[in-house]
Symmetry: C2
């Protein structure tokens, strides 16, 4: 498969016009003071389905020029993105959601008209998905290792740079690398001088080694709270990351929680742990960020607050 | 004291220009679908100090044309607003914060350079404050029963109507009535047809009776989770409310929690319980709101999430 380009990101943006939400960019005097930087958060937690994943999913579904059903494997935001994209385009969406899966996420997928499949053995989710594609004669859309998905994810950075053109640095969390590779294409299509850093949990540190060794280092026992980042990079995302990234910031679990709490309490934004991974390097005042104009892609806000509201209603 | 007018709200807006944040207006397809209305949330949770209270506090401090120290009595957002306003204007701020007070709020006041006083007996906080004003030869600024405070609070609705002029209805939570009376002045200065409704917890239902009986009905044993709404109305807010309000929506505790959770999980906004009081009538599909264009003043987002993050870090 050919690697996507900046031009693909621009075309994805045209396709998403009026369909994806142009999410707000939030700033905070307190975050700037704590980080010694000037920070712009691109709030994809306000995106449709609550995460940037809608951008790539919609772009990919739109590029499958057939009425065939779409099949995807995801227990998270990609599943919701595909389900809503198919709903908007009148296609049938089949989502393979292996256990453990948050019942709220499964309900959300069904709300968008998605058909949920739960493989009996979660370890066989991939072969289950392949069989389903075969059986339905369906279109398969991978969560990040797909050129249209990558191009779609890049539109968040494209929008951010449209409003704040003179950024020095862009930060985003890394799991499979779909968001970060799209962000690299968008940033360097506009200005090759922008430094794009990937932010990765110390407890799921495969992407950094993959880029260093230029091979896909598998993610074997990821334990991080940032569940969206537990995947390995792919054959398309790796070469883009290798060619474009300025480096990695490795983030401890404790820092993820501190950053998440800062963003909730000080900035009043509900974000998911993966998003906090990209804020943490600012709060620890990484030297490479000092005095810089820094854009951060806040990936999403899909968290389960049942525990908090149960406590609140009993107190 | 003369009642404030629409002209005072306009002058307050000029004073706050470039100092208060022009907070974003958020919309949500899901909220519209659930409420059968078209809803615009004016997000004062993103305001400086995390609440609309900064507007009135700053306007009132700016109108005290002296270098005298400022004294205020508040365990909540008014204290933070006064402290920050005084910091910005180079005045000394004395905040009487009777127990029980959230240590985070006290720390925030001190961060802004405010001097915190804790009366030994919380029941004597008022006489303690009066003595302090005497002793310091200070300027006293009441939390809501002050014409400059009321005019300042009205600037949130003024901004909202500046961007979304054709609203049918405005909703806001009611405690002492500072926010609501300012909102009434702003709304009816622009368009006398706009219906302004006050939203009040069933467990702190004094404002509704005060307006009905046209006298200040004291708030005796308020129990609501919306702690900011536990106060009684004042001699300035009551006549404005009486002359302008279209009515009251009474909200149960269960509804406050449901609305709060909806706004966190679906709209990704951290709001305080008082703000949820003004969203609840939409979620129960109040007949007066059906098919209408409804503006809601989201009062603030100062909540203590310690319990949630403790749980998250131990799980």
């Amino acid at each position: 498969m050919a690697l996507p380009t900046f031009h693909d990101v621009e075309r994805a943006a045209a396709r998403l016009q009026g369909i994806a939400r142009e999410t707000p960019i939030q700033t905070s005097r307190r975050l700037d003071a704590h980080s010694h930087a000037t920070v712009f958060l691109k709030c994809e937690n306000f995106q449709r389905v609550g995460a940037f994943k809608f951008r790539g999913a919609y772009n990919a579904v739109a590029q499958r020029h057939s009425s065939k059903p779409v099949v995807a494997l995801s227990s998270g935001n990609h599943a919701q993105g595909i389900a809503l994209a198919c709903l908007l385009m009148g296609k049938e969406a089949h989502l393979v959601m292996p256990e453990p899966v948050n019942p709220i996420k499964r309900a959300a997928v069904r709300d968008y008209g998605g058909i949920v499949h739960v493989p009996a053995d979660p370890r066989e989710a991939e072969s289950f998905s392949r069989d389903l594609v075969q059986e339905l004669q369906g279109e398969w859309i991978e969560a990040f290792n797909d050129p249209d998905v990558i191009a779609g994810q890049g539109t968040a950075a494209l929008e951010l740079l449209g409003h704040v053109p003179n950024l020095d640095v862009l930060l985003g969390p890394i799991g499979g690398g779909g968001l970060l590779s799209g962000t690299c294409l968008a940033a360097h299509g506009i200005n090759p001088e922008i430094q794009v850093y990937a932010c990765e949990p110390a407890w799921a540190l495969d992407a950094m080694y993959s880029v260093k060794e230029n091979r896909i280092v598998p993610q074997e026992h990821p334990r991080t709270i940032a569940e969206g980042l537990r995947t390995s990079v792919g054959t398309l995302t790796l070469p883009i990351l290798r060619d474009h990234l300025a480096g990695f910031f490795v983030v401890e679990e404790r820092e993820i929680l501190t950053a998440m709490r800062f963003v909730y309490e000080r900035m009043k934004l509900v974000i998911e742990p993966a998003s906090a991974v990209a804020v943490a390097p600012l709060l620890r005042q990484e030297p490479a960020l000092q005095g810089k104009r820094v854009g951060v892609i806040i990936s999403g806000g899909n968290v389960d607050l049942t525990q908090y509201f149960d406590w609140l209603s009993s107190s």
